[in-house]
């Protein structure tokens, strides 16, 4: 190994490790709502599940479908969020039954390893992104800097979708594809139980 890359690497490491002011107060930077938005899908599991389900479905259909679905979902989510935050007059949110039903439908396609046409995937991402984005927009409408939070949400969605789609594209044979299908099965099962949970009181009465 030559000396120069070793020296450069160590210099870079030293620069990165140099102690600096923490800048821990997001109140000063104004980026608090953005990070709140980024965390939102990870504490609101229906959002995370639908993104994962769509990502796996799109990835299973191939890299081209994955790329189109990635930008379709993010754009639709952003558009829906804008509508929900700024233009929707009546109060509206996506119910758990509706969210879980959408997750169930997409997850069944993943579980069954169905070859979904690209147009259908794009339609699904557009519809789902709009609905979920609109619901998020409504949630954040009353918050100050709600727009910043929504940017964080869409950023997070984009990142999760990118990683999950890439994983699904790479897992196109053997045991890796089985793992993807098992994940789909788990999401479908969880969403079906959640639907039953919500309907429990209705049927019990």
């Amino acid at each position: 190994m030559t000396r120069r890359p070793w020296l450069l690497g160590n210099c870079l490491a030293c620069c990165l490790l140099l102690p600096r002011t923490a800048q821990a107060h997001l109140v000063n930077t104004g980026f608090g709502p953005f990070y709140n938005g980024m965390c939102h899908p990870f504490v609101n599991f229906t959002d995370l599940m639908i993104v994962l389900a769509l990502a796996l479905l799109a990835g299973m259909a191939g890299p081209k479908s994955g790329r189109y679905a990635l930008f379709s979902l993010a754009s639709a989510w952003a558009a829906g969020a804008l509508i929900g935050q700024s233009w929707l007059v009546t109060s509206w949110s996506l119910s758990l039954v509706a969210s879980a039903t959408l997750i169930l439908l997409v997850s069944i396609f993943v579980t069954a390893n169905l070859q979904t046409p690209r147009i259908l995937i794009l339609l699904a991402t557009a519809v789902v992104g709009s609905l979920f984005g609109c619901s998020n927009g409504q949630e954040f409408a009353s918050l100050s800097k709600g727009a910043m939070a929504l940017i964080g949400v869409v950023t997070s969605i984009f990142m999760v979708m990118t990683l999950a789609t890439a994983l699904a594209v790479k897992s196109n044979y053997g045991w890796k594809r089985i793992v993807i299908r098992v994940a789909g099965s788990w999401m479908a099962a969880a969403s079906l139980l959640a639907i039953g949970w919500e309907l429990r009181d209705r049927f019990a009465g």
Partner: protein, 198 residues
């Protein structure tokens, strides 16, 4: 080369150990929903026996059962759970659960290899029974989606444990061990069958 691998391993372990984790000490909040759901299938020994037996039998049967069971079982079980949640009655649930351990344990002990469709119907039926029992047992007051996620993961991991244990099937001693496990599962099922009848 070995030193580099060691360095990579140490670095990876250090990252994992340094990863900040939340204590999750308050089980009354939404995190309690997922934890409760995760522990629910593990708390019933009859369920544990049957879930591990599904994985073991799948490993014993080999391809395609070894991957078909983990793919389809959670979903079929959720159908049973859905029926239980909405109050759709299925007779003889406890007997069916006990029978699942007896039958699958016997299948494993005898190394029975029925036709795939017959095995699928059998496993599917047992999945409905187990799911229905879980559906009626689900507690009030938890977060539905979180509980469901935790429950499905807990059940899935039990299957995975059965499959991993079943991988010893490649060795002669492993085959004997699996058959003995099947016998023990069937005996356990007989106990639960007796309890269900009394």
């Amino acid at each position: 080369m070995h030193l580099r691998r060691l360095q990579h391993s140490v670095a990876l372990i250090a990252i994992v150990l340094a990863y900040p984790d939340v204590a999750m000490a308050h089980t009354g909040d939404s995190s309690g929903g997922m934890l409760s759901g995760f522990t629910h299938p593990i708390n019933g020994f009859d369920h544990v026996l049957a879930m591990v037996a599904v994985g073991l039998w799948g490993a014993q049967l080999g391809n395609p059962a070894i991957w078909l069971w983990p793919v389809t079982f959670p979903l079929v079980m959720a159908i049973g759970g859905f029926c239980g949640l909405i109050g759709l009655a299925i007779p003889g649930i406890e007997i069916g659960i006990a029978a699942s351990a007896i039958v699958m344990g016997a299948m494993i002990a005898l190394e029975a290899k029925p036709k795939l469709i017959a095995a699928m119907i059998m496993v599917g039926l047992f999945a409905i029974f187990h799911g229905h029992a879980h559906g009626t047992e689900l507690p009030e007051g938890e977060n539905g989606i979180l509980y469901s996620i935790g429950f499905v993961i807990g059940t899935g991991l039990l299957h995975a444990a059965g499959i991993i244990l079943g991988l010893v099937h490649r060795w002669n001693w492993g085959q004997s061990a699996i058959r003995l496990s099947g016998l023990l599962i069937a005996i356990g099922g007989c106990y639960f069958f007796k309890e269900a009848l009394s």
